[in-house]
Subunit: 348 residues, 2 copies
Amino acid sequence: MAKRTNVVNANDDLDTRKATILEAVVTEHIDTAQPVGSSSVLQSAELDVSPATVRSEMVALEREGYLVQPHTSAGRVPTDKGYRYFVDHLEAGTLGRAQQEQIKEFFARVRGEVEDVLEQTSTLLSQLTSYTSVVVNSPHGHPTVLSVQLVNLDARHHLLVTIFSDGTVVKNSIQATFDATHSDVAEASKQLNALLIGTTLESRVQVPSRNDSVARLVRESVAGLHADQPTIDDDQVFIGGSSRVAESFDGVETVRKVLSILEQELLVVSLVEDILAKGLSVAIGSEHGFEALSSCAVIVAPVSIDGEPVGAVGLLGPTRMKYPEAMAAAEAVSQHLTRHFTVGGERG
Amino acid sequence: MAKRTNVVNANDDLDTRKATILEAVVTEHIDTAQPVGSSSVLQSAELDVSPATVRSEMVALEREGYLVQPHTSAGRVPTDKGYRYFVDHLEAGTLGRAQQEQIKEFFARVRGEVEDVLEQTSTLLSQLTSYTSVVVNSPHGHPTVLSVQLVNLDARHHLLVTIFSDGTVVKNSIQATFDATHSDVAEASKQLNALLIGTTLESRVQVPSRNDSVARLVRESVAGLHADQPTIDDDQVFIGGSSRVAESFDGVETVRKVLSILEQELLVVSLVEDILAKGLSVAIGSEHGFEALSSCAVIVAPVSIDGEPVGAVGLLGPTRMKYPEAMAAAEAVSQHLTRHFTVGGERG
DNA sequence: GCTAGCACTCGGTAGAATCGAGTGCTAATA
DNA sequence: TATTAGCACTCGATTCTACCGAGTGCTAGC
């Protein structure tokens, strides 16, 4: 993990004492949710100076934008910039033994399809951190068709099931405007296999132009499948512990806003991918562009298979979230996930 | 829709005036969330009596358990029993033109797989009512296998895709402990088809006991599929508008509790099915057994295909929810859904 | 450059005063 | 007997005041 990459302007370096004070303020405020005064800084930080000195340093830190005073004669609270400095200069977070154990056990035990694993992972991550978790499964590459199967449910309702090289399975209802016999469907299925295997959804496919039932079935099937393109291109989102939102923020209105964003999966995906793309793993307050999430921080860690990014795990909490633990948890889970999918798990 | 079935004890009949007053209190309180006093009752109800008379009636209603006073010298608030009476004696709810239009348009436009339709329906219902909606898709009957397909993703990873007569598609990762050739897999696939088509998940299947790759593949596939039984038996739940929870309740703790229940889909399913089974479509406060949801009311309407119940649509709101509108919306949507699936939609 | 000392600020809390919506009771009335 | 007008009373909500104390900024001295 080591030090986080520093993406803010370069001249944000603070001398040791200022840094110590800032760190103390952030730590304390994360803990208590209260403004932090000069004396409590001295209690938690190892500094051999008087409160007055701390105060004057805090004035400087405020001038430089790392802290704010909610009102005169109150302690200081970190700004987004303050948190940012804190996060950028964070030592490797430590994960509790119990949590490490929990992760290990989880991945040793978890089985089943990718979707199920991700969904459960999302719950795990949320339990580990007490924050809301987001797991994104991005489509990657252009999977080719491994197999197609057209079956009929009844005379006019057919189901096209397509299996892709990445393990995705897509089903399409095909509703014909004419009755088709069993053997028509079987024949169409055979032709579809010949036609589609090895192609991608982007490929142009030469469909038969005849007008018999089989050809019509084939045409409708191909059309149905290709119409699905947006669906299969969509990222899947798994959200765990949405009730944690209510714990993390106090204003009911804030809770509503955050939940509302989470509901719109599209937004969540773009949020997560934005953060990943920007190369930083933590976005604090206004750093991600989402107005409604300005009191949130988001931690994202990539998941890859064979070096290729295929998704991400994220955590959403208040700006005063427990960064070290949360970052460590996200990182650990993302690594376990990566390994899980790369080697295919022990058996899983 | 007409009058709701009355499931409470039979002697809960109130004389006309008491009923009028109770109705006025409920209506007013749903509107304002405030305790309702005798004079505001007179404003909204058509009664030619004095406030004093209303008060004495309210004392009686309180004695009989329909109303409570939050504290002396405050207005009255309905109890669960009060809401129950109100709901049981409700005239057919009216759905706004705009909403009817919205539903109609939705079902005219909606396409795709059952799951997608239900998910979108859930969102629709939530938008229509401003409450959180729950749509449950129950497995019904014992679908038989229509087709099986075993494909290999790489030498040791295979994917078993099974299509059932009800249109369900189940995929299982099969991870072999040995390398299998393409033709092994193809042969296994063929045998699996012969073996499984027409069976249900409950059927006992005679698997080959030989020890060649093909037989082992077949055995592992069947085992994998049958291990899935709980999964395919599970109801699917689609929740829409969970952010509405934050609007419906004021205490953050209540919001958290409700969200937490919603997260546990199992609970939601049992809740919905409980209510359906009890034969009533509305459960108010303590009527459903869920402690944590004691300040909620739940409205459930069944969805059936060919007369057989296959799921339900539900709404979750505060006990002081707008019953007439919400019930009308749930009923309308459930009917549209039923029709949508019965005739298969115009094309859809 | 640091610190002790001190005046000052201002949010939070507690208590008192007040307001007013709404009650319950009683005595008068139809 | 049912209804009502009248009235004293209750009690949450609101406002105001006083006050405490955490925490500040400033200044003078080390």
